[in-house]
């Protein structure tokens, strides 16, 4: 079992583990996430070459409020794993970036930041990706009404103003 092997390897850093509907998932400690990601990628026992997806789920009433969800895939071992990190709202809404391990984290984490306002610390270029820079709020949060209007932003002349700010 993959989850047993993970528990053996990481011990108390895995807060929860489970297998529902044939899918393995673990909840890990945010502080330990960079090392765990690195081991999941490098260790031949796990060999998760692909970071397939990064997203979040907003459990509005729950504390901590957000689940940041990573879908990992190992091609050589033919396994999948779902890794979750639980984070709170406000200043607590941050996780370490997975970009040093998987390059696909670049855009996926930008999208998650765009939609949920979760900060990925250590990300090289964290800015909005699907929405525009002056967008107010983070639309996939449950407290963002789906019919909410956005303020009209003044037109920016791309010649005199610099391009999208980059970090």
């Amino acid at each position: 079992m993959l989850t047993d092997k993970l528990k053996e390897k990481f011990g108390a850093d895995i807060l929860e583990s489970g297998n529902a509907l044939g899918e393995d998932s673990i909840v890990i400690d945010r502080e330990k996430a960079p090392e765990i990601f690195r081991t999941l990628h490098d260790d031949a026992d796990f060999a998760f070459e692909f970071l397939i997806d990064v997203t979040a789920v907003d459990w509005l009433e729950r504390r901590p409020r957000f689940d940041v969800v990573y879908q990992l895939k190992s091609m050589s071992r033919s396994t999948r794993l779902r890794v979750k990190i639980r984070v709170g709202a406000g200043d607590d809404a941050w996780v370490p970036s997975a970009h040093p391990v998987w390059k696909s984290a670049d855009w996926l984490e930008r999208e998650c930041f765009d939609m949920f306002g979760i900060t990925f610390r250590g990300h090289p270029d964290l800015r909005r990706i699907l929405l525009y820079d002056t967008f107010v709020g983070h639309p996939l949060r449950k407290d963002y009404p789906f019919q909410k209007r956005q303020p009209i932003v003044p037109e920016i002349d791309p010649i005199t103003k610099p391009l999208r700010p980059t970090k």
Binding site: L21, E23, S25, R82, K103, S104, P162, R164
Partner: protein, 404 residues
């Protein structure tokens, strides 16, 4: 104008003496089929850096899915990759069915496979036809569009629409095949064979085509994996990963087909990759048509399937059943799943979370071409401006899927 530090560093490393020009290409560029903006830093005609801006077609797919019932998500999924909408339908249906713990009837599974493969062919034909026309090979484009239209006619005969099919349902499919489908698909497959051989003659020894495609936009295996590329792009880089083989879903494990792979991972390989995948899809269609079982195409469970219209109009039980399913939706047990299918552009995954009510709590789609676009910068640096068009064409970015 002062350059952002990130760009000036890279540029100095490339060639400190040359002046760097900024060019904004897009968001509506006639040669780039898709609404996308490239913020280029040019060193002469060479691309020194390329910041890709996506999101112009963002329509809040994931937010809108949370507003209706599970069944009401199907029309939204059509509009993800609108060159192969049946595959999106199938992916979403499989994810919800996994949460419900049900399986569609065998005939419905076969139909889903057949229509997925038809969609894959239409998607590949669209991508290759457009890419060829951008290089001036308009004949190829017309030939491929002709074949695509034949298949779209078939899709229309089955689903009632060319692109906005909304054909799958939780627990099956909406309509069975029309009576003359078997003959029509056989004619279409023969036609595709002919057009592929014509296009092969037009392109495989065409000097212009090869010079423009070969050696451009190379992405080595290691990078392709790290950037999360899947589908034809990953296979063109030499990695034989296909969800249909790695995690077989539906009835794919019953068919024999091959996974062709490329070698170098350049644009030529990507074109070839799609070219060689079409016969494999045809193989699957022929096998599936040959052993297509009889039976219902929709599950019988009244908590999931709508009752037949005669019952709705003529009995109070049928009417109540219909009303409850439409107004409250299918009650999906609380839980979460990530279910992936092989889309035309790569692994199309649906991460769905249910809280036990009749509405999705969270629907997340993992768009294959979004990840491919993130690697575009890496593919382009050092190449010429015209190479942007071919590389972008071979990624086959579909705005509906990339921006959702």
């Amino acid at each position: 104008m002062s350059l952002p530090a990130r760009w000036s560093q890279k540029i100095e490393a490339a060639d400190p003496a040359d002046e760097i020009m900024e060019l904004q290409m897009g968001p509506s560029h006639p040669a780039a089929h898709g609404t996308i903006k490239f913020n280029l830093k040019l060193d002469g005609e060479r691309v020194a850096d390329c910041d890709v801006e996506v999101g112009y077609l963002h329509r809040a797919f994931e937010k809108m899915c949370e507003q209706g019932t599970w069944t009401q998500c199907f029309p939204y999924t059509d509009r993800l990759n609108y060159a192969s909408p049946c595959i999106n339908n199938v992916g979403f249906a499989l994810a919800v069915e996994k949460l419900l713990g049900i399986e569609a009837p065998e005939r419905a599974q076969y139909l889903r496979v057949i229509m997925s493969e038809v969609s894959r062919i239409t998607d590949h034909l669209t991508c290759m036809g457009m890419a060829a026309s951008e290089l001036g090979a308009v004949t190829v484009a017309f030939l491929m569009i002709e074949g695509r239209e034949m298949l779209y006619d078939l899709v229309e005969a089955v689903t009632g629409a060319r692109l906005t099919v909304t054909w799958c349902r939780v627990g099956g499919v909406a309509h069975d095949l029309p009576d003359d489908f078997k003959e029509r698909i056989a004619i279409a497959m023969r036609h595709i064979d002919g057009l592929l051989s014509d296009c092969d003659k037009l392109l495989s020894r065409n000097r212009v085509f090869i010079d423009r495609m070969s050696g451009v936009g190379i992405l080595p295996q290691k990078d392709a994996i790290s950037y999360g590329l899947t589908g034809p792009l990953l296979r063109a880089s030499g990695v034989a990963y296909d969800v249909r083989k790695a995690n077989p879903y539906l009835v794919y494990d019953r068919f024999t087909f091959d996974i062709p792979t490329g070698e170098r991972g350049d644009n030529y390989d990507r074109f070839n990759q799609r070219f060689r995948e079409i016969p494999e899809s045809q193989k699957i269609i022929v096998q599936a048509m040959g052993e297509l079982p009889a039976g219902p195409v929709m599950i019988g469970d009244p908590k999931i399937a709508l009752p037949p219209k005669e019952r709705v109009y003529n009995s109070i039980e049928g009417l109540m059943n219909h009303f409850k399913l439409i107004m409250e939706g299918i009650k999906v047990p609380a839980g979460e799943t990530y279910t992936a299918v092989e889309g035309a552009n790569g692994e199309l995954g649906f991460y769905v979370v249910s809280d036990g009510s009749g509405r999705p709590y969270r629907v997340r789609v993992r768009p294959p071409c979004f990840l491919a676009m993130s690697a575009l910068n890496k593919m382009l640096i050092g190449h010429m401006i015209p190479d942007i068009i071919t590389t972008f064409g071979m990624i086959n970015m579909i705005g509906g899927e990339c921006d959702r």
